[in-house]
Amino acid sequence: MSAVPTLEDRYRRLLRALPEPARSRWADEMTDTYLTATCAHDPEFAEFGSPDLADRLDVWGLALRLRLGGPGSSARASLTGATVRWVALLGTLAAAAPAALAQLARTLDPGPPWVTGWHVPFNTLAAVLAVAVFGCLVHGSVVARATAGALLALHLFAAITTSAPIGSTVAFLLPAAVPLLAALAVDPVRVDRPGWWWAGALGALLLVGGLPYLSLLAPVWLTSDAVAAVGLTVVGAVAVVRTAAPAAGAVAVLGLLTLPVLLLPLVVGGGPAGYVAVQAGAVALLAATTVVCAVTAVRAVRRLPSPRT
């Protein structure tokens, strides 16, 4: 007959969610604190009680913070946290630049009067929020999570209400949603050089606006997705050359998320030969960037000491 688990066993099982070295450091004492707190007025609770939902959420929250480089976490967790920050920053930058440019173009040329409907204010709101999330992340604002949450809700609403096939909806939702989830996961911390990030944003705007314009002069089918592939390759190349592992890791993640968007038109088929060629070229470029950046990031992680040592 196996022994019935006590409250202590249940707390210890819950605390297994904590990563090392924090688990070894705190699990014993946290168990003692939990038991003292919960059994002070009800000793029988030690026999049959169980951690409540608030305790579970609290421990999972601590486990997430420790896995993302919070104080007391391992060197690997610090690198993971920095990578998640880069995913949030680069991903929101990649979303904010085309959205801002589209709004700018619409302000300069509102288009024909019949271009109306709920998607017009929706797109404006999404663009404003995208720029706001990026700004909040760069400056470490306390409202970063709130703005990221609002934009994520907007994307989810759009994904739920669309009539597009589920495959393409998911393919387009993931590169938008994952950076916002990353923004929700990390604590808002101001970057070292905000000016550089705003300069990068300006560069992204010029890239997004400039490359398709050039393609009009020398007819090449440069889609916004192909421009995104070029942008990620530029950032990835700089990250690999400077062995900046978090940035390389983030480019690898964003590359993986963007590849399905680029592959989708090729899978569906059709379109002029020039368009297919550019799209296929962008897929090859982004796939190569993703692999090189992933290898750089994984090597950097392996060089760090294991949390258990």
């Binding site: 004492e29 946290m30 939990y34 609290d58 104080p71 007391g72 920095a82 470490g140 101001r190 070292d192």
Partner: protein, 124 residues
């Protein structure tokens, strides 16, 4: 890249710790440790008493906070004791922690004075 001392593994300089304003739970944890070293449950109980039940620290939050305050040099380990077969770690306030708490008290007193001064102004 980021202003995250955890990434570089460095503690904040003393002057910076004492200048930065503390969150409410952090201020109460430092206050709980002001007169004696305490273990986790001792801190939780003392904070609840000091705040008249207004601040109820959850255990995960407390240990995350202790890690942060230790990394910032405001709190340090004191001693370990065994209790019912489990380790109890005691934590104590450092000199930097005492200065940070003093600075926070001064800041809150100044805020309170400013608010009372506004209340004394009668509308015309």
């Amino acid at each position: 890249m980021f202003h995250n001392h955890a990434l570089s593994g460095k503690a904040w300089p003393d002057s910076l710790s004492s200048m930065a304003s503390l969150t409410e739970p952090a201020a109460f944890v430092l206050a709980a440790l002001a007169d004696q070293p305490l273990h986790g449950w001792g801190i939780t109980a003392e904070v609840e008493l000091l705040s008249a039940g207004q601040v109820a620290l959850r255990v995960g939050t407390l240990y995350g906070l202790l890690d942060r305050l230790t990394a910032e040099g405001l709190v340090e380990p004191d001693r370990e004791e065994l209790h019912a077969g489990r380790t109890r770690r005691y934590h104590r306030l450092t000199d930097a922690g005492r200065r940070a708490l003093e600075a926070e008290a001064v800041r809150q007193e100044a805020n309170a004075r400013a608010l009372r001064a506004r209340l004394r102004v009668r509308p015309a």
